[in-house]
Symmetry: D4
Subunit: 212 residues, 8 copies
């Protein structure tokens, strides 16, 4: 087990009882760590809340966490435009925390409102790794990546309709970003971005030492 | 024939001789108008220059114009990030002029350099119609469309590689723009955008009258 | 806030209570304007009707409008073939009105019945901007664009089955239109077309002044 | 061998010598019939002209015919918009003739010029089968199919650029035609359409007997 | 109204009440003809049966016919592999009848059982037009088209899973058929194939006169 | 090194000199085996013939073999329709031989000519593994797989045009084959099919022992 | 009927009553064989259990088997990563058994845990044919195929989300496997892989005779 | 300018003279930095070598570097399978160096040869960021990501044919990697991966301090 990495239950396609059982067992086997469950249905969230009262359930990110996350090291900034992309941003933020990074959640930052992006520039620059979540045309990572030189993981979301083709438009947009230093994960994969960014943040030199 | 609309020769797949012949004939039949030829090969451009010395040949936009464009009415701003997208931007600009609009060509405006976009905001707002040309992720129209409320026609270009899929990424990005009031034409279709924007500009009330 | 532009609530993925709350708040903050809500479920439409009796709810276009639209300026003609495309046409028409344009709604105009298209030619030519809504093969914009020189925004719809691929066939058809001066918005995006066309219409010189 | 069907050499990927050899052999084995070769390169056309002076070579349709086609029976009308689609229309026309049908070739008929379509309505209605060739948005079959009730085979062409995706846009448009009674063949497949239409025309009752 | 063509109600997206109302009205306006309704839900079929006892409802093809089809002329053979493709074959057969052709329905004919195909060869050759319905790999039209020289309309169905992509595999297979004289309609479009084939059959010379 | 498996040089993207050098070295290191080179350009074939006179060069399959293949065990039948698919069939046949299987090459077997397929039925049934090569609609594996119960590897080829999309239509057709026991390799991958089939054939009990 | 091949009912789209009836009839007609039903809904599984108490119902693989499978000959190893892919692996295993092969089911073997793959190497090498089931990126067949030289049939599953596009990513991955001797079946097609592998295993020389 | 980031010339579509001119100018303006040019044609590489003798030209990675890269900080390991992917790996390695990271280039590491992967495990674990380059099925990142917990950027390459669709198969495989902590850049985008990884490595705490 690598320092900082947590045990995880992927809840999609599992019954509420299976999720509870897996959380309980993994927690028993790894008592000093946090265990994370993702993609929980409303039913699974409810059963977890009832059966595992010590667990923290997040209905927005559809996650549950059992046990104490590690002391955080480094900072991941999670940036998104707002309500529609919130579940993916929350999944990313919770994952980053459980995997050992501090999180700065920055919402309401959209491409069509540049002043808001400009306004959070300092917070963006202060992070060790950025997770930028966006649906539709997926342009936000290009704009953010043009402002600061922090490693940036882009997460396309399936938010949109018609020619968004379930997140394909955002995915392609991000892969073709004209800002260098942008990497991408699967559509709606807040979890993968969270693991990646936490690993980067954990190993970064403290902010007061870093020059940027 | 509608006021302001010009005769056009689509040069793709035509021999230099056919292009020259068509320009000459259309000009003879419509002596009071300009005739526009697009998508000219280097060979066609050369033959036109030799055979029709009165024509204006643009090697960047691969166009030739024979005869005098109409007195312009209204303004189309053509915005692009730079060298790679220049041919499409030039085709759009020349078309808009030949179809009766004044043109303000704004280059070096990219998503990853927001200060430059901000710096041309007044010129953008002063136009009657915007043509925004972009390849790769095609994010520029969203950024521009978030700044000003001018009707905006986006032109995706085939500039890019890999998952740009010949302009598909830019096309999908533009169709999914989160900025309202963005419409889109075919990949590399500077001509179509130029016709559309000129029609909008020609019929607009003069800038000094307009409130914005 | 730009003259004529309205506040908008995008209803997809929001609960009825959230929609009502957002309409109420935006209306309170912008008392002199109309607020538009789109993509409302039947449940949201019902709750809006009960909670906001001053709102106008349109079950066809799935919209609600609270407050008084601006005095209209210019004319947008919204053209469609009929029943299946009606929701998108209605969304476009309501949006154009709320954004300050007069609307001429022209239905029952299909590619396979040319006499009907011919019969409305004068109404088409009299508009400042056309919105042409079509599903299946999406050919109507080409036919209409060949008849009149008015700026034309095409809206592909997801109506169809099999190789229509959720509106992709219509979208591609419109992007490849052989009639110049056709621009396109996302599949089923009546809202985007409405905003675009209203902006064009609002800034156009009055019909009696225009030459066409 | 079925009455009216001819022997065919598919020239793509064959050397000029192979094409000549195959034409010569098939003609020797079927002296009473015509033999058709399609998709001939310029080199193959030249060698056929030199080696087989009795053959009729068509540089537009890239075909060669050796031997006498059967006495024609019935009429196939081949309709297209013009120069770009001419090679496919010519391949279809020659094939239909070699397979035993009379051909009425109707060019310059485009969607964006309805008066021309209207003007040939009688010729369209008089045919036993229609072949409608179109590239770009592929809308012509819908318009023609809405005018007359004659069986109609649509041929999409690869003419276009960008989002035409090599004829895909036209193909999808034709498959989704709102005019009933439209069937479709592969992109650029004038040959297949010609065989199909000739078979329909050959078996049709003579025009003076038919009611329509 | 063209001889033999019927009035049609496209039931998809219509309420049972709307379907009944449309059938009733069209029948009243065209008393001498049959009216066809397609794509009827179970609910619509039930209401039609109750409200219009003279209608013939087919639960397999999901159609209803009100009024007397014309005296049939010519023969359409509808060929399919069996149960899964039966709804599309039935829609095609009923449509062909209502549009004035006699129908020979041939089932249980699959590519993987050639003896059955061979066994019906005479019936295939005796038809004026073939409709071949097939899902999955869509190979049946190639096999049938290699056996007989009758005009053949292929109908891909959405039967299959995984890489059948909702009928796309069958559609592409049919468009690329190596048997000449195969044309194709949209996925699951038994209606379109029926109209097309009926038009071909109606105008064909009687079988005893035809040579084949 | 597994019994029967050979060393292989993948010639695509290698210079003639690199190919010769690799063949020479591998042969020196494995003197008792054959070494196979595939995808050779005309230039590479020529240089191999000059520099390695002991090598067998096949211009159809674009392969070269240096050294003696193993004594063959079992039989692979390679089936294809003819000239266009011949390069892929030859690559498969040579590979199977070099990997230790006997090969029965069966050409001129097409879907549209069933009698030929029927005529080779005994040879098909006598093989231990079948490789069926087909382009365009890729229907041949379904027909062959319906005749005999021998393990069958299908190879789609990029032969075709338009909606064949470089072999995609054939690939999808084969993946959706209604004949059970059909597996598929990449487009034009005669090599992979040859390795697979040789492994199956080598381990099969001799034909005289087998019941089928 | 070929030795070892069984009768099969494809349960998708069939009612529980139809499934029971087909199983009963096929079993009566082939009393000496096993009959297999696949893709059974929960309802069909229940009715089979009640009506045909001699049948073996597998809720994981959604299959039912009536009658005695043949004495097995040869071994098929079915390899998968675990719970999500279990239904497809079970369908493959049951099919292989019913078609006459012995089965070695190997689970919990994932690409991201190489030690587990290494640990089962002997069992993999001992099989006559491998079926490797994997979703998401579908990389397992390449890893397994690099370890042992046994014929390998890869089954992509629809497990995944976002850019897995319903199994397309896994399918493409497997088709492009850099390990030679990998062939592929349709997404989720455990049945087809089972038939193929059983045929290979049945005809293989016994393991003690084989050299590897 | 951010510490460590370099000036870059994107050579695609530029003439040799333009490349030389840009390198010279950027170097003059940023004398203390290295300037990188990528995607250089053979002609551009030659002219750079002649005109700028101080530049380092890499014909494999098609890059040129003018001026001294910064003192490196942290380590990027660039992993690839070998010759075909070498150009992309070299572009990534050179970029990472120019952007300030030390580089450990690890070649000959393929999915189908696990022992080699195992053998470099310590070098992989010692890096601050991994760049894994792979074409065809793109499985290498999953295997590497399952071995070590280092942040991993995957680069799909366009190496392959047929269903690799120009790198799409590898791209999709990487996006769906079952190993968490894998992020992806555009097809063939070694440059983007190099910038990203260098930023991560530069800010990482020195290896001797890090726990892993
Ligand atoms: N332009 C064409 N497109 C598609 N198929 C064709 C074409 N021309 C000929 N063919 C087919 O090719 C066959 C001859 O192929 P081959 O034996 O290779 O010359 C004919 O029987 C036709 O079915
Ligand atoms: N199953 C079907 N598939 C495609 N088009 C159909 C079908 N059934 C009816 N139609 C078409 O739908 C039209 C009637 O549409 P509507 O007026 O909406 O009922 C008819 O004229 C037919 O052209
Ligand atoms: N899971 C499956 N996937 C694909 N084909 C299947 C499957 N199960 C059965 N089949 C095929 O379906 C045929 C029986 O279909 P049916 O007559 O509709 O029950 C069998 O002969 C098999 O070839
Ligand atoms: N190989 C590459 N792939 C993608 N982008 C690149 C590549 N090389 C350079 N760039 C980008 O291209 C920009 C320079 O473009 P230009 O000004 O056209 O030379 C740099 O700032 C990089 O972001
Ligand atoms: Mg967004
Ligand atoms: Mg750009
Ligand atoms: Mg429509
Ligand atoms: Mg056209
Ligand atoms: Mg079928
Ligand atoms: Mg073939
Ligand atoms: Mg997997
Ligand atoms: Mg690779």
């Amino acid at each position: 087990e690598r320092t900082g990495d947590a045990e995880v239950v992927y809840g999609a396609g599992k019954t509420p009882a299976q999720v509870v059982e897996l959380l309980r067992t993994l927690h028993a086997n790894h008592p000093g760590h946090a265990v994370l469950a993702t993609r929980l249905t409303a039913e699974a969230q409810e059963l977890v809340a009832v059966e595992l009262p010590d667990a923290t359930v997040d209905p927005v990110g559809r996650t549950a966490v059992l046990g104490t996350p590690p002391v955080s090291s480094g900072t991941v900034a999670v940036v998104s435009a707002g309500t529609s992309d919130a579940p993916v941003a929350a999944e990313a933020a919770t994952t980053a925390q459980v995997f050992g990074a501090g999180v700065d959640l920055i919402t309401d930052v959209g491409v069509a409102g540049l002043h808001r992006v400009m306004g959070v520039r300092e917070r963006l620059a202060a992070a060790d790794c950025l997770i930028v979540v966006a649906g539709m045309e997926g342009a936000l990572p290009s704009v953010v990546g043009g402002l600061v030189g922090v490693p940036l993981v882009a997460v396309p979301t399936s938010v949109g309709y018609g020619a968004s083709f379930g997140g394909l438009a955002a995915l392609l947009g991000m892969l073709n970003s004209c800002a260098p230093g942008v990497s991408v994960v699967n559509i709606d994969n807040g979890f993968g971005a969270g693991v990646f960014a936490a690993r980067v943040a954990r190993q970064s030199v403290p902010a007061e030492v870093k020059e940027r």
